[in-house]
């Protein structure tokens, strides 16, 4: 792809004529394909790959449209349009996913082209949300705002997005391919459990570059990614990615669906051999068209220039007073508000996990409400987190009480981010054609059981992640408490694991405690695990740290004794 491709005028990821034409043509192609399918001119076998290419799956009850939200970044206008699409073409709600996408669960085939056309109006699409291609790139949801950020990963996510969109060489990979990017030492993008994880860091010479991590992933065979390159100069990013994908495309297994991901290739050949092959390919191509000039990088970076944030006070009397008067607000400040790089500002996470709610779901009215709040208080910008919440990245400290109240009116001001009820859950057997067991009702029961905010904050940081099958869309392998639904002779059972983590430097896969428990005992099991932690924790120790110190046995013994 020629370098000039990156010189298109953009704001955010607003399309230029090239993008707009491409997406508009795809919508019309799909419209004709749908017409031919409904007229009986195409069989399902012929049509299925075409609809999947456009993000349209068939689930248990209906078609599901998976909409790409590039690196989780949304404008208020886009979110409002998503609400409108959900209302017009679906049942008026959507599900934000662990890949920072949005899924609409009740789309009609005959309406799908109109829904895609409506997405295109706000520079969005559903391409590459299915199939064995490079999927929507994910990134730190605090990107461009986090106080701990070294560099904004969205610049690089956008470069990767442009390079990977309809990349002809990588449209039929052995299997799907997921890339995540973080620009902070505190990894909020789970880069060690992606096919490729990219971590921006500053070396001893003061240069910023990427650690390239390869072969991570969850699913049937969970693996933690290995470092392929300790330090990659930024200008070489695309050439190095292309080299890695090329090696995978050539040697990745195509004979066995379950062994086709790059993690299996890395595991089978070893990271040293993988590195040698990638470096050889990279050496042959690094000075070619994919080298990124400073000018190109700067052109993209300008699109992600920090918003103009007027000076605002850091410490505000009204906020301090409300903190003393309203205990829930004080808890919310602790759990849902993060430091911003700009003085006088904060990052707010709207919890899409109110007690008893399906994790990550929002109604059309709630989406519009979030868009309103973003317009009034956060530069009309929002982010979707891989933990299925919505982030308001640029909120003035003095506006925090107003934002708290506004989110409260939407039911999204629960002070539970990072706490036991901030549960990640896949759609599970209620929706998904692949699932073996339900996820959402289990999450709801746990959420109701631990609804007390005071108790949640006493328990502290504890991440529960629930998947309804081994494909692990709910990331159960890396949950402090992971819950995997399985089907045993027609009965839903839940396998519980402990000690998973995605924090950088501590990334770990959970340890399975023992035999799976029945659906009606999951809450008791979790309650017992929490009680064990509360009894045995050292001062200031988080759940996962207690687990690391004392191991699984004390948890296991008490849990099974309690059931």
């Amino acid at each position: 792809m020629p370098d000039t491709h990156f010189h298109r005028p953009q704001h955010f990821y607003k399309y230029d004529d090239y993008d707009r034409t491409l997406v508009a043509e795809r919508v019309e192609q799909f419209r004709d394909q749908v017409r031919r399918r409904l007229a009986g001119e195409l069989t399902e076998e012929q049509f299925k790959p075409l609809r999947l290419t456009n993000g349209l799956y068939l689930q248990l009850h209906a078609y599901m449209l998976r909409i790409a939200i590039p690196y989780g970044t949304l404008s208020a206008r886009q979110l409002r349009q998503l609400a409108d699409i959900s209302r017009k073409y679906d049942r008026g709600y959507g599900h934000f996913t662990t890949r920072q996408n949005l899924q609409l669960n009740w789309i009609k085939l005959e309406d799908a082209p109109d829904a895609l056309a409506a997405l295109a109006e706000v520079d969005m699409h559903a391409l590459q949300t299915s199939g064995n291609c490079i999927r929507n790139v994910t990134a730190d949801h605090f990107a461009g705002a986090a106080a701990d950020e070294i560099e904004d990963p969205r610049i690089w996510a956008e470069i990767v997005r442009q390079w990977s969109t309809l990349h002809p060489e990588f449209t039929f990979l052995p299997r799907k391919f997921k890339i995540a990017i973080t620009g902070s030492p505190n990894d909020r993008a789970a880069v060690r459990v992606h096919d490729i994880g990219l971590r921006l860091w500053r070396n001893a010479e003061g240069e910023v570059g990427f650690e390239v991590i390869v072969g991570g992933g969850l699913g049937r065979t969970p693996m933690i990614g290995k470092t392929l390159r300790e330090f990659l100069p930024k200008k070489d990013l695309l050439a190095y990615l292309e080299a890695t994908l090329r090696v995978y495309n050539r040697y990745g297994r195509r004979d066995n669906l379950y062994k086709a991901r790059i993690k299996i290739l890395v595991h089978e050949v070893g990271v040293e051999k993988m590195r040698a092959d990638v470096e050889a390919e990279f050496a042959a191509t690094r000075d070619g068209l994919l080298g990124l000039s400073d000018e190109t990088i700067e052109a993209i970076a300008r699109q992600f220039a920090p918003p103009d944030l007027p000076a605002r006070p850091d410490r505000v009397g009204a906020v301090e007073r409300l903190k003393l008067e309203d205990r829930d607000f004080a808890l919310w400040l602790k759990s849902n508000v993060a430091p911003h790089r700009a003085s006088g500002y904060a990052i707010v996470t709207a919890s899409l996990k109110p007690a008893g709610a399906p994790p990550g779901d929002a109604s059309a009215v709630q989406m519009e409400g979030l868009a309103d709040i973003a317009e009034s208080f956060s530069q009309a910008e929002l982010r979707v987190s891989h933990e299925q919440n919505i982030v308001l990245p640029h909120v003035a400290v003095e506006d925090l009480p107003a934002v708290y109240r506004a989110l409260g009116q939407l039911g999204f001001a629960e002070a539970n981010v990072g706490k036991i009820t901030d549960i990640i859950a896949c759609p599970g057997l209620d929706y998904c054609a692949l699932a073996n067991a339900r996820s959402i009702p289990v999450a709801q029961r746990i959420s109701r059981h631990f609804a007390s905010l005071a108790r949640q904050h006493d328990i502290g940081d504890l991440k529960i992640k629930i998947s309804g099958c081994i494909n692990a869309c709910g990331h159960h392998h890396v949950g402090h408490i992971g819950i995997l639904g399985v089907d045993k002779n027609g009965v839903e059972l839940y396998q519980i694991s402990l000690g998973g983590d995605v924090d950088f430097g501590n990334t770990a896969l959970g340890t399975i405690l023992g035999p799976a428990v029945t659906a009606d005992r999951v809450v008791e099991a979790v309650d017992s695990l929490v009680a064990t932690y509360l009894d045995l924790r050292a001062a200031g120790e988080r759940f996962v740290e207690t687990f690391r110190r004392i191991g699984a046995e004390p948890f296991k013994d008490r849990m099974y004794a309690a059931l």
Partner: protein, 104 residues
């Protein structure tokens, strides 16, 4: 008559092409979204015939397949597997409504 849980009883199901809605083949050879109107095969040979009929009538649906069901003494038909019960009855929790401000 006790509830028949033998797994011998089967209905033919599919998703409707136009909107993905779950449907079952009825006695008249049409597709219905009501399980209580589904044609029931009562033995292996009947199941083979039912599936063949479903496949012959598949232009408006996607990939018909057989579903094992039970039949209560009052004639109530219910799929044996949880997956098929969910397909037949819908979500097992209340989804949020389009105009909902909060999850009830």
């Amino acid at each position: 008559m006790a509830k028949n849980l033998s797994g011998d009883l089967q209905v033919a199901s599919a998703n409707r092409l136009s909107d993905g809605v779950v449907v079952w083949l009825d006695d008249a050879g049409g597709w219905t979204d009501r399980l209580d109107r589904a044609a029931i095969a009562r033995d292996g040979r009947g199941a083979d015939i039912l599936l063949a009929r479903a496949q012959a009538e598949a232009s408006s649906v996607i990939d018909p397949f057989l579903v094992a069901v039970s039949e209560g003494h009052d004639g109530t038909v219910e799929p044996l597997s949880l997956r098929e019960r969910i397909r037949a009855s819908g979500l097992t929790f209340d989804a949020i409504a389009a105009d909902a401000v909060r999850y009830a």
